[in-house]
Symmetry: C2
Subunit: 119 residues, 2 copies
């Protein structure tokens, strides 16, 4: 079946959450896309989000160089969430850590799981 970005279920702001996962299984980040960002990501193979704070397209890595190349694009059963398997150049997180999910809650306390990448 041909895929149409308009067939996805967007929220009231026209956005759908997109989870980025590295090929080794590490979940890197979650951000948002609109239909045009979905189309651009599929067309270009460069993962492109919609920045809610800047209200603008956000080609991941455009300023940092920490580009995400699309490896596989997946849709969930309700068509209201995306899972992007990506080839991540450099750290995915703006704090310079590999993943944005670097904090765990264990025994009621917050624990830092990874340090910023040197460089």
């Amino acid at each position: 079946m041909a895929f149409d970005p308009a067939s996805l279920c967007y929220d009231a702001q026209g956005l759908i959450p997109a989870i980025a996962q590295a090929e080794d299984g590490q979940v890197l980040m979650m951000a948002w896309m609109n239909a045009e960002a979905v189309a651009r990501t599929l067309q270009t193979g460069r993962v492109t989000y919609w920045s809610r704070s800047r209200q603008a397209f956000w080609v991941k890595g455009e300023t940092s160089g920490h580009v995400q190349r699309l490896v596989d694009f997946r849709v969930d059963c309700d068509r209201d969430c995306l899972l992007l398997v990506v080839d991540q150049r450099g750290p995915a997180c703006h704090t310079n850590r590999q993943s944005c999910f670097f904090t765990a809650v264990r025994d009621g306390a917050e624990v830092e799981l990874m340090a910023p990448v040197a460089g």
Copy 2:
């Protein structure tokens, strides 16, 4: 640092997205939590979402038996998304597939990656 569910960033509906990932790295599903669901998940070790359609707590597996036991609870850099590492009993998806992300978009077409679990 002690963890307080109120320290997370919830949306206008008081919800935060929560990604469930199996210990082998497979991303299973994404659903939503409110602060009380976060607290219950940490207290009980049974992953508890907030169902937006039913407007009620949703203890995953309560009716299906496909329980998620919490293995690790992670928070992202912006504190507006959760990553739950879980021990998933049975398929995570209501379609009886292991993961909700069973559809890929490849060369412009939708491809089914996994079949429902027999049972």
